[in-house]
């Protein structure tokens, strides 16, 4: 499978190497997004993710196709978690493999940057006394 696009409850970072590994790939690049403990010096208890899954999968698939068209890649993976995630838990993982490192490094950056712009997934930051939908307001 050249392209993996998924929304899951829990991300297993350990299985990604096997998914991206390829006999023709001398380089594999992976980005993992995780829950950070502090936002503007305020302690985050958890992040809650929700999605419009049918559309999110379509948009993630478009991003993967665009990366495959732009760079010479052997495999591309985009996986996002939903539900409540605690500090240090992985929430998103993207990766690509290619013959040489430049293509997979550049593709990886494109995958995560574009996902953040277009994929219908929303996160709520849960603090001790309040919850805030991220980026909702100016």
């Amino acid at each position: 499978m050249k392209k993996v696009v998924e929304i899951v409850d829990v991300i297993d970072t350990a299985k990604v190497y096997a998914e991206l590994s390829d006999a023709n790939s001398g380089g594999i690049c992976v980005f993992v997004g995780a829950v950070r403990e502090f936002t503007n010096n305020e302690e985050v208890i958890a992040l809650e993710f929700e999605t419009y899954e049918a559309m999110a999968l379509k948009e993630m698939s478009k991003i993967a196709d665009e990366a495959l068209a732009k760079w010479s890649l052997n495999k591309v993976l985009i996986r996002h978690a939903v539900g409540e995630k605690g500090v240090e838990e992985p929430v998103v993982i993207v990766g690509a493999s290619s013959a040489h490192r430049d293509a997979c490094f550049e593709a990886c950056r494109f995958l995560i940057d574009t996902l953040k712009e277009t994929v219908p997934i929303w996160k709520k930051e849960k603090f001790k006394n309040k919850s805030v939908w991220v980026s909702a307001h100016p």
């Binding site: 049918a54 996002h80 998103v92 997934i121 929303w122 709520k124 980026s135 307001h137 100016p138």
Partner: protein, 79 residues
């Protein structure tokens, strides 16, 4: 016509789905947005307000028949 709500718009509306009766049904994405902002003024304070028709982003000019899957997409914040 049924409209799905996610993220902050779900909180504002207080529901993940609302139905428009036939007489009040908006006929375009632009009129749907206008009606929602009139009913829920907090929508106008959001960073952006997008609409998806049949799970694809739809601009204001897209016409609505009422049998589509329509969703309100507040500013996304995945990753």
């Amino acid at each position: 016509m049924n409209v799905l709500f996610f993220g902050i718009t779900k909180d504002i509306v207080g529901s993940s789905e609302i139905s428009f009766s036939n007489e009040l049904q908006p006929t375009s994405v632009a009129s749907l947005k206008k009606q929602l902002i009139e009913s829920y003024p907090e929508f106008s304070k959001l960073n952006s307000l997008a609409v998806a028709v049949n799970s694809e982003y739809a601009d204001d000019s897209v016409l609505l028949k009422g049998n589509e899957e329509i969703a309100i997409i507040p500013p996304v914040s995945g990753g």
